[in-house]
Amino acid sequence: MNRWCLKTAPLVLVLSQLACTQAPPAAPDTRAADEKAIKDVEAAWLKDIQAKDVEKSISHYTDDASFLLPEMPIQTGKDAVRATYKALMADPNLAVDFSSTKIEVAKSGDFGYTQGVYTMTTTDAKTKKPVTEKGKYLTFFKKQADGSWQAVEDMLNADAPATPVK
């Protein structure tokens, strides 16, 4: 018995070390794919906004998302977000463009965020003339059960007061 143990002990140790280092497999790092997925979501979202499609535009938000726009209180929940988009898209002068300058995803692949810049033209409430502003935004995303990314926080502000369109 002693001889058996001596002979097989090294083999057992090697095997158990292999097992320790090889299993269980570490969760794969999906950050590069997640960053691309978020970039694609923002590209689709921009098209939905430019098409003035309210339902498609708000499909990029979670049910409990907050839309945080300047000079109005926090809008939380799909109904509030929908109402805000409806009001914005009723403006015949509305024109929006945006692009991300930074995308980062958590190690665990459940959270991500973008920072970016936008240009927006709207009708000035007082003068009734179109005005344009440039600004920046921050959007925080959560990966959903189906693997898609949706915004939970969406916030922006202008770099300077809007100016009349030339």
Binding site: L68, P70, K107, F111, Y113, K136, D159, P161
Partner: protein
């Protein structure tokens, strides 16, 4: 030799299984403690603003943090943030209160965000009149190598235009 293997194989398999199921241990879920750490950090930040201590105020930011303030271009990096805040906190009328509403931490506990509301008072740079405004903010945090949470993105905007302070 065959007999040796037959006798020791079950023992080796058992060791392998123990090794597989016990190592590496799953990372503990620290999200509750992390949420509290972020809330505590925001409470401390309010105290640091009240003391107008610029060094302590900017310790809450990561070195590459971005601050996205209304009517200003993006400020990125501690030097730019410090320069942008210097005059604000030097204003005798400066007052800032923050109320953390929501904090969420990624499963991997490396990225988090908070949403909250603020009330601010300060002299208007042009008219020198003391103005007050209420608004909301979103902060994105990253856990640092030393375990502390630092802000990487800081954005806010008012609920309504600033009004003369009463």
């Amino acid at each position: 030799m065959n007999r040796l293997l037959v006798r020791t194989a079950p023992f080796a398999l058992l060791l392998l299984q123990v090794a597989c199921t016990q190592a590496p241990p799953p990372a503990p879920d620290t999200r509750t403690a992390d949420e509290k750490a972020i809330r505590d950090s925001e409470t401390q930040w309010v105290k640091d603003f009240a003391s107008r201590d610029l060094d302590r105020i900017v310790t809450h930011y990561a070195d590459d943090a971005s601050v996205l303030m209304p009517d200003l271009a993006i400020m990125t990096g501690k030097d730019a943030i410090r320069a942008g805040m210097k005059d604000v906190v030097a204003d005798p009328a400066f007052a800032l209160e923050l109320q953390t509403v929501k904090v969420e931490v990624s499963k991997g506990a490396d990225v988090a965000y908070s949403q909250g509301t603020y009330s601010y008072a300060g002299a208007d740079p042009k008219t020198k009149k003391v103005m007050a405004e209420k608004g909301k903010y979103v902060e994105v945090y990253k856990k640092q190598a030393d375990g502390s949470w630092k802000i990487v993105e800081d954005i806010n905007n008012p609920d309504a235009p600033a009004a003369p302070a009463k």
